[in-house]
Amino acid sequence: MASDTDDQARTQATPRRGTETHRAIEAVWRIEAARLIAGLAGLVRDVGLAEELAQDALVAALEQWPESGVPRNPGAWLMTVSKRRAIDLIRRNERLERNLIELGHRLDTDEDLPEVDEIEDDLLRLVFTACHPALSVEARVALTLRVLGGLTTDEIARAFLVPESTVAQRIVRAKRTLADKKIPFEVPQATELSARLESVLEVIYLIFNEGYSATAGDDWMRPALCEDALRLGRVLAGLMPKEPEVHGLVALMEIQASRSAARVSPSGEPILLLDQNRARWDRLLIRRGLTALDQAEKLGDGTLGPYTLQAAIAACHARALNPEDTDWVRIASLYEALAKLSRSPIVELNRAVALSMAYGPAVGLQLLDQIADEPSLKDYHLLPSVRGDLLFKLGRREEARTEFERAADMTRNARERTLLRERATACHVQGSR
């Protein structure tokens, strides 16, 4: 692409006031930030510096565009401005220049903009750098949303319910850590790729779950994190189309997001999957999720990773028009595979539920009894709650009542406690007949 900073700006039929231009600039930033920072980091090999250069260009846009109008190719405008600054900086700073030459990095000082393919490579480098394991998980999340999601510090702070200064500090420290530890701006070697990719996927899914756990009355930035995570996931799927788990994660998020309109009652209470009004599930997102899952399964060639397995489970629910159409046999076998990978007792608990739905409560109970002594489930109220449910279905009411009461004592959620006590009472009444 040729450098295109032509003065011919877009015209507006309804004249825009200053704030409107600002909002247009914000939109441009959202679209361009990641590619801009990636391209600059490719040039200066330093994500912190690249981010600052990009910010400078944003400031220049905020100063100039309200007067001149938004340029026809705003991305190229921002890239040209910040690249000029980068080159000035390198010329003035011998140490930086030497570093770059030592890295064997070309220093093309002409006005050519990086080619599209180069930007794609730089974008992937940026993903792996922002999610580098040398950084704390909070730092990875903040930096990823900042440089890849184009969110402001204030937006990140509102989304995570922390003060803005906390987020700003996390980002400053993250950039310093990257510089101090001389973390190279690169895609990891094949030998460490899968471990490093795990960190990237973890960050994206963490962002998604933060948004998913938002409750009514929260700042709208919070649920919007789901869309931010989905967007990052889709971008990553484009950058690494051959990685099955990337598609697996995208599938999982698309299908989970498809239920967002059905999973909370008007009063803000969560609605269980089997009680949700499936007419409110987003069919388009389900379809997209199933397509991504298909891709993950094809690429996985028989062995499915943890995200793909979870997506496959979510897909079993998504495909069922009615709860009673759910393929519990398949879900149980997917949980079995997931349990082998994760060795998590909570996965085993879910597997026990699936087994009881597929083969009857006695089979589920058998597995529950095997994990009953797991230390990590000691305070987990769902264990006695599920156990009570299975015992109730088997007609062992007295034992069921004990379990429901135990669960009620353990849960911290008042509404859930009420429900569990009601179930305990129901055991008593029916059991005494």
Binding site: R23, R234, A261
Partner: protein, 146 residues
């Protein structure tokens, strides 16, 4: 939030004329940019109105009118469904649609798409829900993939 960018029809699209290779290439590049940015949910191009129909209502009676229709500017030629952060971002993406140079008049509409999560769940009364469910059952919407 979701937005729909609607491409308006014109005399050429209505005539079913194949767009030039350049226009096709530009459109591919645009769609790819939307995909790579993670914002594209769906996009489709439409045949001329000669392959469609309109349904007019009068006095409780429906009448089918076969295409083509004369007022090209009231027709649409395609759409993109995107998921973005703001109305401004949707407009910014719309501004990047490669409309052929020299195009005159309204070329695109940008509409915000209704999202089920915009309204609380009680908006659908139980009997309405059952009816919708029965309809979906009958249509076999989203029958499981193999």
């Amino acid at each position: 939030m979701k937005f729909m960018i609607v491409g308006k029809a014109n005399a050429e699209t209505e005539a079913g004329a194949l767009p030039s290779q350049e226009v096709v290439d530009n459109m591919h590049a645009y769609n790819e940019a939307l995909t790579k940015a993670g914002v594209l949910l769906a996009a489709e191009g439409l045949y001329p109105s000669s392959q469609g129909a309109q349904i007019a209502y009068s006095g409780g009676k429906a009448t089918v009118i076969d295409g083509p229709f004369a007022e090209a500017k009231e027709l649409i030629a395609g759409f993109w469904l995107i998921q973005v952060k703001s109305r401004e971002e949707a407009i910014e993406w719309a501004m990047r649609v490669p409309v052929p140079p020299g195009y005159d008049g309204i070329g695109l509409d940008v509409w915000r798409v209704f999202d089920a999560s915009d309204v609380p769940d009680d908006s659908l009364p139980a009997d309405e829900r059952d009816r919708e469910q029965a309809l979906r059952d009958r249509l076999g919407v989203d029958t499981p993939n193999p």
